[in-house]
């Protein structure tokens, strides 16, 4: 048995081509049991193709793929009872009611969750008798999520789970994902919301053009590109050369965008003091001064734009 194995998912050299287009071009990744693993990338990067290979929907052209020790394509029958899937969109019969849909899925799994309790957990109790065709976009997503969980799966795949949800539903979904992780469920999610990846995931890969361009914990990823910076607002059109000279940094690290200034340098008291003195000397205002480290968004944009 693979019950004691460390990895829930092991992928090496995954390739998938559709006609002329290479959707996935050699992705390798490992997901540990019990972790929340994020796959982040722009549209068309290969996120969904990768997840759909793991779910057993598509056969890889090349590479070794193991989910819970099984090949999702050839051993799907053994794997399917142990995984839960939330598609990026669609999947539900418009004519069935919410509770009917959930009850149907409970018949698919041994030891399934109680449908009423699960509805309460995703906040759909009031919509239990509503036909699927009348659910709002966010309610539809929450029902899809409930269906992914009803079989008490060991691994859950969530393809952009909070797309189209209002902020409250989104927060509730995040709580649900954290609760699942606390029960030991392994979760693989794709997202294009950077804050979602940063606050929810234990580890992240950033995928672009079918390849992994960065991998690590959110902290490692933001630390991998140590771009500390100082941001402030002032009068547009300040002389950047004079500014750079006054605070003792290279001109190249200073940029302006319509009165919003960024200086890519680690902040310290001396630098901020010199900046304030310079602005005072040239009679310019100093508003909204902030300092900080790079966000995951900056890393993401930097990595995915470099080869664009």
């Amino acid at each position: 048995m693979d019950a004691g194995a460390q990895w829930a998912i092991e992928v090496a050299g995954l390739e998938k081509t559709y006609g002329e287009r290479r959707a996935v071009d050699g992705i390798s990744l490992c997901v540990a049991r019990g972790e929340v693993f994020g796959i982040l990338g722009p549209n068309g990067a290969g996120k969904t193709t990768t997840v759909e290979v793991l779910e057993g929907y598509r056969r890889a052209d090349a590479g070794s793929i193991r989910v819970l020790g099984l090949d999702p394509w050839s051993e799907g029958e053994a794997l399917r009872p142990r995984i839960g899937v939330m598609l990026q969109s669609g999947g539900l019969s418009p004519g069935l009611r919410t509770i009917e849909t959930l009850r149907l899925y409970t018949a698919f799994y041994d030891g399934a969750d109680d449908p009423e309790q699960l509805l309460a957990r995703v906040g759909l109790t009031d919509a239990a008798r509503t036909p699927v065709r009348r659910l709002s976009g966010g309610q539809y997503q929450r029902l899809s999520l409930a269906l992914a969980l009803v079989g008490r799966p060991e691994v859950v795949f969530l393809d952009e789970p909070t797309a189209g949800m209002d902020p409250r539903a989104r927060a509730a979904t995040w709580d649900l994902v954290r609760a699942l992780r606390d029960q030991g469920t392994t979760i693989v999610l794709t997202t294009h919301y950077l804050d979602e990846a940063e606050s929810l995931c234990d580890r992240i890969v950033i995928v672009d053009h079918g390849r992994v361009v960065a991998a690590g914990t959110p902290d490692e990823l933001t630390g991998a590109a140590p771009r500390h910076e100082i941001r402030f607002s002032s009068r547009p059109g300040l002389d950047l050369a004079a500014l750079a000279a006054a605070i003792g940094v290279p001109l190249a690290v200073c940029t302006e965008d319509a009165g919003e200034y960024r200086i890519a340098a680690a902040s310290d008291a001396r630098l901020v003091g010199d900046l304030a003195a310079h602005l005072l000397a040239v009679g310019a205002p100093l508003d909204a001064l902030s300092t900080g480290r790079t966000t995951l968004e900056d890393v993401f944009l930097q990595l995915t734009e470099e080869d664009a």
């Binding site: 799907g76 029958e77 995984i83 899937v85 669609g90 999947g91 019969s93 018949a107 799994y109």
Partner: protein
């Protein structure tokens, strides 16, 4: 295959099928309407009892409506809405889903045939002939028309599939020798009609219910060919995602 999953899915398919009003019109309403209208109001000119001609025809029509139209249109929209895809990653799986849809068609046919036979007896039809043979032909017809329905559902866009399935239903009703004998059609049309699955099914069932020795061999052969070719084509060409 997971039996509990298949039965649950079959029940859900049947619930949905009975909830679709337009599906009931095609599967029950029209066959019963044809039987009553041509059986009581405007009887076809045939040798012998008009009901002995009509009842096998509407049984064939019933099979065509459930196996081709209802199954095909439902599956086409399942494909459009991603239902086929989603169920593919549950323990039900694709083979289980096909088994459930088969059970659904058989369940609808049992309801259709019960209603039609009750109406037929009520207006004076007397059962005769080889019932087991007629059931065998109806099953063969189910395989042929389910093959055709799934072929269209798995290759066309949902709207095109909807239009084509309903259109074919009408054309095959006219060319199927169901409500009036094929001999009323011009010679060339008759020849083509005899090679189509609808007339082959109607004629086979009619022969079986009259006198099993009367079964027209050509119709049985045509039915067998369609019942082989259409499911094979469907299995090869079916795409699970639109």
């Amino acid at each position: 295959m997971n039996r509990r999953a298949v039965l649950a899915q079959a029940r859900s398919e049947t619930t949905l099928g009975l909830r679709r009003g337009e599906s009931l019109v095609v599967t029950i309403g029209i066959p019963v309407g044809v039987l009553l209208f041509f059986g009581r109001v405007s009887q076809p000119t045939v040798d012998g009892d008009p009901l002995a001609f009509l009842v096998p025809g509407v049984l064939a029509l019933a099979v065509m409506s459930s196996a081709m139209v209802s199954l095909g249109i439902g599956t086409g929209f399942d494909r459009r809405f991603g239902v086929l895809k989603r169920l593919g990653s549950t323990p039900l799986g694709r083979p289980g889903l096909l088994a459930a849809k088969t059970l659904y068609v058989l369940a609808v046919e049992v309801i259709q045939i019960s209603v039609l036979l009750a109406v037929a007896v009520a207006i004076g039809w007397e059962p005769a002939g080889g019932i087991p043979l007629a059931v065998l032909f109806l099953l063969l017809g189910t395989i042929a028309f389910a093959g055709l329905g799934m072929l269209m559902a798995g290759t066309l866009r949902a709207e095109a599939n909807l239009a084509l399935a309903n259109g074919l239903y009408l054309v095959l009703l006219f060319l199927g020798g169901m409500a009036y004998p094929l001999t009323r059609l011009p010679g060339g049309v008759q020849t083509v009609a005899n090679l189509l699955p609808a007339a082959a099914l109607a004629e086979s069932v009619r022969g079986a219910l009259a006198e099993p020795t009367d079964v027209p061999l050509q119709s049985v052969v045509v039915l067998l060919v369609w019942a082989t070719v259409l499911p094979v084509l469907a299995a090869r060409l079916f795409r699970w995602e639109e």
